[in-house]
């Protein structure tokens, strides 16, 4: 049986599944329920200075798939709205009661040295395993010069990381905002500032919907709405790209990463670990389904690892990173085409109409003895994969490689590239 134990920058947990700093980790009550359910660790809901912030009503927006499942989630909540000392007292109690679980404390205070110097010892006193600096919150706090207002300026990120390393012996994780054009810049700054790790992503600036009756964004507060932070399954691709960018950047290569963003099951977790994440954090999926989802994460990851012969997380961590490359290095001579498994095909015609209307006219709609039949026209198929994605039947369409007899050739070498480098 695979060993799921995790040691992330010296913070140990029985598995790499942590709850992200958010409502699920706002109180002792929730965190204890999470630990009972089996979560390996938590990043406590972000603490700030007293007096605590005040939240509005209502607070969440959502994007639903056709079957009414939430695939995107958005919030306009702020950091914890409970007094600092209440949170600190509960953190201390929880860490004492659950010594084997990771308890990291998320912090957000004004961007001054005294502020950080003041709060760090209070956290250290609780026995918490580390701190996570919330430079990501895109609404409410940023207007006050905190959260993403700091995270978007690499110099500030580096500066605050440095103060923290100076004033505490606890490991320091810098949580990055995705609301930047190049996430590698704040990541590099965090590393230079001495941060032990980065975590990402925090939420993305967003408006989820407009209520067409009252003509206002949702969630609506007394007739008005504002942009909030987007998360949930819909943001996973964005988070993956950012994690991969940091994992393969030469300046941040090897910097420990705690991955966050749209993780809902063991497979999502495995994918982020393959991109070098040491732990993964979950918020929306837990808010959607409750803490029980960790059962699948634990057994699913362990079973998959057993099947692949991986004994520990380290055995496959980062294995996908070398295969993430730039477009210009992809093999232009590689060719794949779609194949339809006629036994699995249910004749819905979606592959045909997608290709016919919007792509390469490479799937023929036929009638054979009056029965529908959809067949790939090999000569027309460019292997774009559209049909495969629209097909509702799992494994019905597959993309198969075709032997072209041509060697590896990338765009930098391709004679069709007017800007290609001279051949060696």
């Amino acid at each position: 049986m695979a060993d799921l134990r995790s040691n992330f920058i010296g913070i140990k947990s029985p598995n790499p599944f942590w709850l992200a700093s958010a409502p699920p980790t706002d109180k002792e009550y929730n965190v204890v329920r999470a630990f009972k359910a089996g979560w390996g660790g938590v990043v406590w809901k972000t603490l700030g200075e007293n007096p605590p912030v005040v939240n509005v009503s209502s607070r969440y927006g959502a994007l639903h798939s056709a079957d009414q499942r939430m695939i995107g989630f958005n919030n306009i909540e702020l950091i914890t709205d409970r007094p600092l000392e209440v949170n600190l007292r509960e953190i201390k109690q929880v860490k004492r009661d659950w010594p084997d679980r990771a308890v990291v404390v998320s912090l957000m205070v004004p961007c001054t040295e005294e502020a950080w110097k003041g709060i760090l010892p209070l956290v250290e006193e609780t026995g918490a395993d580390g701190v996570e600096l919330n430079f990501g919150c895109p609404h409410g706090m940023s207007e006050r010069g905190m959260g993403s207002a700091v995270g978007q300026v690499p110099e500030y990120v580096g500066m605050v990381a440095k103060w923290c390393k100076q004033y505490t012996r606890m490991p320091v994780i810098v949580k990055l905002t995705p609301n930047v054009t190049d996430v590698r810049k704040p990541a590099r700054a965090a590393k230079e500032g001495g941060a032990d790790a980065v975590s990402l992503i925090n939420t993305i600036n967003s408006i989820t919907s407009i209520d067409l009756d009252i003509m206002a964004p949702t969630p609506t507060v007394d007739g008005k709405g504002t942009h909030g932070g987007y998360c949930g399954p819909a943001v996973k691709p964005i988070a993956m790209h950012m994690v991969a960018d940091i994992a393969r950047d030469k300046d941040t290569f090897g910097l420990p990463i705690s991955a966050i963003g749209g993780i809902a099951n063991w497979r999502d977790a495995a994918e982020f670990i393959a991109l070098s994440a040491g732990t993964v954090q979950v918020c929306t999926a837990a808010m959607h389904y409750g803490f029980r989802i960790v059962d699948d994460m634990i057994s699913g990851l362990a079973n998959w690892m057993d099947g692949k012969g991986y004994k520990t997380i380290e055995d496959f961590r980062g294995k996908a990173v070398p295969n993430v490359t730039d477009w210009q290095f992809l093999n232009i001579n590689y060719k794949s085409i779609a194949r339809i498994d006629q036994d699995k095909c249910i004749k819905c015609g979606l592959c045909h109409i997608a290709c016919e209307d919007t792509s390469h006219q490479a799937i023929a709609a036929q009638r054979v003895d009056g029965k529908r039949r959809y067949e790939v026209i090999d000569a027309e198929c460019v292997g774009c994969n559209l049909c495969n994605h629209v097909c509702p039947v799992p494994d019905c369409i597959s993309m198969v490689a075709v032997e072209t007899g041509k060697p590896y050739l990338n765009w930098t070498q391709d004679p069709r590239n007017p800007m290609r480098k001279a051949a060696e």
């Binding site: 056709a66 004749k347 819905c348 979606l350 709609a365 039947v393």
Partner: protein
């Protein structure tokens, strides 16, 4: 064995609340939540097989998608454009042999999208709103007579009215609706839905209804052909097939299923309907199933349906057969009635002969017999065209085919300005939805004819 001297046929066998429950909506409508979940199951197929399987070619994926996006009125418009009786069809179509039978979800998971229920959800929503999607085109001054106010006649009349023609419906019965009003099982169309749908159809304007006017009795085809620019015949099948047994018409308690169902549908108080304790039904179609289940639900103790061939030969779908069984109806196959035995002028017993197929596939009697004691017998062995009204004393007579009116693709009969559709034509498909299609197709052809005239 002792036998009661008088047959046990009585009213009020069940308590009022049990009766009400028995005749309540057999498939309660979807609420918004269920409609959203169910509509999300549709793949939005291209060249969708379900559309091909619908006699009226409703664009199923499109209307289901509209339900899913919250455009329920648009969904209903899409349905009604193709099938103006989409509300009734959603309730009565044997979807298990039509659209849902062809749904690709059967291939992947043996569970089709519930197209009928979604169709009902959308159409009911529109009917309950004050949205009226249809408007008449400029009046053409042309006049069309429609004979019979059933699904075929109503569908034809509505389409003609849209095109600006003036329509007069001649209907023998006091109410419009045809079998929607007088024939469909009560629990399939509750709360007077048939009349609500008729009102919706008439609300387009340009359609006047003359009820209590029968072709052949009050008007003649010759006259209609003279007084109107075109005539559409949609009078269904007014005659019933007989068993051909001695005393069939003399013994009390031997009844025609269709007539009994009509009474049941019109009864203000079902507890006043008399039903036997032991009932025998003869037939193998939907009428046989409907009379069996409805007498059972009125409180008959034993209902036995006897059909001369096997279950696979019944024209009632497997779904209907199963429904009868779930309702406690006993289905017996491979036997035909050979003798009705009475006592004091009332039916007491039916004698059956077992049947089989011979070497040439012909149905034959085996000579072996058995009999079933009963208080009431229902004949449900099919209906037939009553030829008199059309061919009685007419100057020119209509061509018939297999005992029904012969028509071409456009539902045009052999007579110059006469079209026909629904059960009275020789299409071989006696379904509400097919009748609606016939009316629609005929109207298109009539419109072309009138404009060319």
């Amino acid at each position: 064995m002792t036998q009661s001297a008088t047959p046990d046929i009585a009213a009020g066998r069940l308590r009022a609340d049990d009766l009400a429950a028995n005749f309540d909506d057999v498939k309660p409508p979807l609420d918004r939540k269920k409609a959203l979940i169910e509509s999300s199951r549709c793949y939005f197929c291209h060249d969708a097989p379900c559309v091909e399987a619908c006699p009226t070619s409703i664009d199923v994926p499109n209307f289901i998608r509209m339900i899913n996006t919250g455009n329920t009125l648009g969904a209903a418009e899409e349905i009604l454009d193709a099938n103006i009786l989409g509300g009734m069809c959603a309730r009565v179509c044997p979807t298990e042999i039509l659209c849902e039978d062809k749904c690709v979800r059967n291939t992947s998971e043996d569970k089709p999208v519930n197209i009928g229920m979604l169709q009902r959800y959308a159409v009911d929503h529109l009917l309950q709103s004050n949205h009226r999607p249809f408007a008449r085109q400029k009046p053409t001054g042309k006049r069309v007579a429609v004979v019979g106010g059933g699904p075929a006649g109503l569908s034809c009349a509505h389409a003609l009215a849209i095109h600006g023609h003036d329509v007069t419906i001649f209907e023998a019965r006091p109410k419009l609706g045809g079998l929607n009003e007088y024939g469909i099982a009560a629990y399939k169309t509750v709360n007077d839905f048939a009349q609500k749908e008729v009102q919706f159809i008439l609300s387009i304007g340009g359609i006047s209804a003359k009820t209590g006017q029968a072709l052949g009795r009050d008007v003649t085809l010759d006259q209609l052909r003279k007084d109107f620019d075109a005539v559409f015949l949609g009078f269904g099948l007014a005659g019933v097939n007989a068993l051909g047994l001695a005393d069939e018409d003399k013994l009390s308690g031997v009844e025609d299923a269709v007539a009994y169902i009509a009474d049941l549908r019109q009864a203000a108080d079902k507890s006043k309907l008399k039903v036997g304790r032991k009932v025998v039904v003869i037939g193998g179609g939907n009428t046989a199933i409907d009379i069996s289940v409805q007498t059972k639900r009125l409180g008959a103790e034993d209902v036995t349906l006897v059909y001369r061939r096997g279950p696979e030969h019944m024209s009632a779908t497997w779904h209907e057969q199963e429904f009868a069984q779930v309702n406690g109806v006993k289905l017996k196959h491979w036997a035909r009635p050979i003798r009705l035995l009475g006592h004091n002028g009332a039916i007491k017993e039916v004698e059956f002969e077992r049947t089989a197929l011979d070497d040439r596939g012909q149905l034959v009697g085996t000579g072996e017999t058995y009999s079933i004691l009963c208080d009431q017998v229902f004949k449900a062995i099919g209906q037939k065209l009553v030829k008199d009204p059309v061919n009685g004393k007419a100057r020119e007579s209509l061509d018939l085919h297999g005992g029904k009116i012969a028509v071409n693709e456009e539902r045009k009969t052999s007579l110059g300005n006469v079209w026909a559709g629904g059960d009275c034509i020789a299409s071989g498909i006696d379904l509400t939805v097919q009748s609606v299609e016939d009316g629609k197709v005929a109207a298109r052809s009539i419109d072309r004819y009138l404009r060319g005239k």
